[in-house]
Structures are given as C-alpha cells and as structure tokens.
Amino acid sequence: MSKPLISVRNLKKYFPVRRFLFAKDYVKAVDGVSFDIYEGEMFGVVGESGCGKTTLGRTILLLIPPTAGEIYYRGENILEYDKEKLKEFRRRAQIVFQDPYSSLDPRQTIFDIIIEGPRYHGIDVGDPEEFVVSLLRKVGLEEYHLYRYPHEFSGGQKQRIAIARALAMNPEFIVFDEPTSALDVSVQASILNMIKQLQKEFNLTGMFISHDLAVVKFMSQRIGVMYVGRIVEIGDSDELFKEQLHPYTRALFSAIPIPNPRVTRSKKKMIVKGEPPSPIHLPRGCRFYPRCPYAMPICRTKEPDLMEIDKNRHVACWLYR
C-alpha cells in the first residue's frame, strides 16, 4: 500500500456553549480521532447526523482550528506551518460542501467563482477563459454557462460547479462533504460517477463524508464509522460490508433498507434502542454502551481506544480485547 497523505492523531474539536454567566460546557464534536488517508485512495466517513463527520472534515482542512491533536500532511504537522506553507496547503487541499445552494456566491458569475482561487494564489493558468471552459467541460457543463449566475443552475449543476472550483486549484486532496445529499437519486448517480472518474484522472486523494452507506461503499476503498465524535471502526469497504465488528457498526449496517425487497426483508435486523447521547453530556466509558446489547462492566468505566485487530481493520470495542 502507498504512503499516508494525511494522518490525523488524537484530533479533538470542542465548541463552547454557555451554560450560565461564565460557566461553560463543551460540545465535543470530534473527540479523539486518529486515522490515515493513503495516497490515491478515497476514504469514506459514515455516521448519523451530529456525529461530528462534517466538523472532522473541516478541521482537517483547518477551516476551523482544532482544540487538540495533530494533523500531518506528507509527514509534516500542518499546525506548525508558517503562513507561506499554510497557504500552499490550502491550495492543495480543497473541499466540496454539502449544500450547493449556499456554497456558491449568488452575485458572482461562474467564471468568477472558479477563477477566484487560482487568481488569489497566483497560479499560472494561461488564458483564464479557456482554463475555466476546460474545467467546465470536465464536469459536464458547457462554454455558454461561463457568465451565468448560480441561480440559473439546478442543484446537480451547482454541485458540478463546486467541483470545478475545487479542481481549479490543482489539488491533491479533496474533502467531499455529503456532496449529493441535497440531490435526487437520478442526479446523484451522475455526480458520483463523475467524482469517481475525476479522481482517477487527476490522481486525487479524497475523504468522502456521507450518512448514506450505499453511497460511501460505492465511492470509497476504506471506510471509517463515526459515533458521537469518535471513530469506532475502520475497515476495507468490502470487508466491512461482509462483517461488522463493532456493535454500533452492526446496528447501523443492519438498519439500512436495501433497494431489493427479497434481500431487505430476509435480512436479520439488529434494532438498537434509544438515541445517541448528547455530545455535551457523554456517558462515562464507551459512548455506545447505554444502547449496546453486549455491554460489559468495563464498558461503563473505560473508553476503548481504536486498536488494530486484523490487517486493515481497527475497532474501538472491549469485546475484541
């Protein structure tokens, strides 16, 4: 396997919330996450809403500063970068946001939206119009779209523009934060195919965040499963779909309805009771134990760390110690 491009170690991001006067509580959105993303791969992150997957994606790109932990890019800690190097990192690492309606400036033309980044970074793109048109063609749009405004496009087309904007910086790494969750399935399919193809063409490394397991499986080679601020299991996407080790992963995978009536109705389901805990008031010990059917005494007192238990399989669960 190739070298890691991005390595995250014990990353934490807490957001303060005021309780009363000066007393503060913290939303522990990301609470001690470690993993590697290897060169050329698409690393999937799945989890339910509020599990911290979006915060994780944004923190890795330093769009928001982490509370604690380290982020390595090609072995260098980006938190120790000076201004110059940080600017270069920001060029190489791009993001495609979830909501295409709010991530494009409504007062800029498509040309301005796409050329803004390269201009700011002083990238030599030759003839700017030709450059933008060539990018638009790559994402399935046309030359006549160049001077239109975002409101003239459908959701799917807007997401294509957002992807072209990311590609304009000639990046190495792109975070895709639920790029198709606002789109209809028939449109989603074409965007996913396109991302896959562009990843090959531009030799991109990526992180694909989604709550949709089927989409993550289609897009990524390895998957990390998040639960309330922590990654509970990481595995090869095919292996993970064959067998889930962490009880939460198992519950999550058994809960997804499969678009095939015979398969989905005969599937054994594991319905966990209750709801995820609040990321402000976390239970002591493992954060899944209040819902876990296999909870043991140790789960109530000590939080399990992510451990490699097999080749390419990491689990944070006391059952496997």
Partner: protein, 330 residues
Amino acid sequence: MSEPILRVEDLRVYFYTYAGVVKAVEGVSFEVYSGEVFGLIGETGCGKTVTSRALTRLIPDPGRIEGGRVLFRINSEWVDLLKLPDSELRKIRGSLISYIFQDPSSALDPLYTAGYQVAETIIAHNRVSWKEAWLKAIDALRSVLIPDPEARVKNYPHELSGGMKQRVVIGTSIVNEPKLLIADEPTTNVDVTIQAQIIDLLHQLKNLRRTSIMLITHNMGLIAEMADRVAVMYAGRIAEIANVYTLFEEPLHPYTQGLIRCVPDPTKEIKELYPIPGTVPDLINPPKGCRFWPRCSKAMDICKREVPPRVEVSKGHFVECWLYAGGGHE
C-alpha cells in the same frame, strides 16, 4: 386480496402562480386496499405530496383541485371526499384518515406540550373529558414506544429529539385508530438507527390494527422494506403500479427501470451507476405526450404526440407507456 378502501380517479391539482399554471398532478388514479402498505415513490417535485394532501383537500392557495374523484369507503359505503362539505370532511381528517407529515418539527405546535397535542386530537373527534383524553394520550405515546410517557406528555416539542418528535406525531395520527394512515416521508429527517425503529413501529401498526398505510417517499430502500404495492410517480402522473416484488424484479416503464438502476445497492459490487439523462420537466409547460419522453432512451414518435394510456400488462401490474400499448405498431 382484500377490498379497496380508497379509490382515486383522474385526480388533477393545479397551482395558479405568477409564472403560469403548474400542473402538479395531472390525471392520477390508484387504489389503496385495506390492511396494505401502498407506496408512492418519486423524486422531488413529482407531485407525490400534493397528491396525498389533495385526498382530504389540504391544498393551500394558489392550488386548486381541478377534477377527479377521491372515493373513500366508510362502512361499505363510498363517499367522494372532494364533494363532501367542509364540516363533514373535518370529521374524517385526523380520525378515519390521518397524516404523518415529513417534518416533525413543523407538524407540532411549539407552544403546546406533546400531551396536549395528542389529547386535542382525541377531544376533536370523541366525546371524552380532558382527563380521559390525557390518559389516552399517555397510552398513545406508550404505544409508539416513547420511554416514560407520563413524563414526556408534559414536554414541549423543543425538549424532544427529532426521533421523539416523530413518535409524538405518529402517536397523534394513530390515536383515533384511522383506517388510512398517510405517511409522507416519515423517516426523511431522522437517522438510520431511528429510521429502523420507526419502520418497526409502522410494521406493528399495520399488523396489529390492520391500518392501511400510504407511504410516500423518495427512498427506494424504504419502499423495498415496507410496501406491498407501489406506484411510481413522474412529473405529476403515475408511470407504473405493481406489486413490490414485480416492480423491483420486472419493472416495465423506462422511468422505473432507470430509477432502480441509479440507486446504489450496498450488497452488490458496483463499478458504475446508471443515471437517468436530462432533468425533470417544468410542470408549467410539460412536454406534450408522455412527460418522460425527453429523457427516455426508447422514445418513439407517438410518445411525443399523445399521452400513453394505462395498460394492465398482467394482473395488478399497470403501466402508462406506449411500449406496452401497441405504440410501436402504428
């Protein structure tokens, strides 16, 4: 199979906007049988929610129901809900026919407690005291598996999580033991593990009380999981109606085929997805003839001129497509 409880014939709903007349629902017909889960699937803007709301005339201005019949069976008598006086219809809404709306946060009034809102529904349709209604409300919340319902009835909506709110909404909708429950995207705003709990709950409802459920969704997985029969809607019309197994295994309408192929199946090894080319048409000026022809790979001349008739290909399997109506041999 059991008897139909609802029969919708040639329903038409238009919205009169400044931009023009939006023909949101254009000649929709289907039946719902007692005790079944009838799925209505389609993408954003296809008219599935409008159809479901038109059944009890819940269409706000500038929308108007332009035609059709909605026959509902009450004690073996058929009543046309579109002709019923408002006062009569109000007796049916929330009792014999009830709704679970998509967004539980907006379906609940933030100024009243969860218990009040359930009890209010009981009071509106039954001669009971508030005290009795309150106790029944607690029972209803218990039946939708809300833990500690005695305490929860006193909570305001903002004190409840999304999944809990959706349970309160479901509780409200089943408290008067409806014959027909219309569930409009009941799990779209909740997480997968909570979705599994709600699916389980709806299954129990159907099995225990023999309630007919009309399930409206864009999620193919949910349809595969829950529905007995399915209608596929496209641009204000029904493209195909079939038993759920038939629909997934032998889809006939090119749109249904496309829909099934473009959804990733996590149990299969997929190299590439097959999107449906083009976009959903503008319903102010929909294409002439079949509304799907501009995106259809099998479009023929007749498709561009005339609306395809409904053909029953095999028993209970209806399709509105010229491929099966002898369109090829003109």
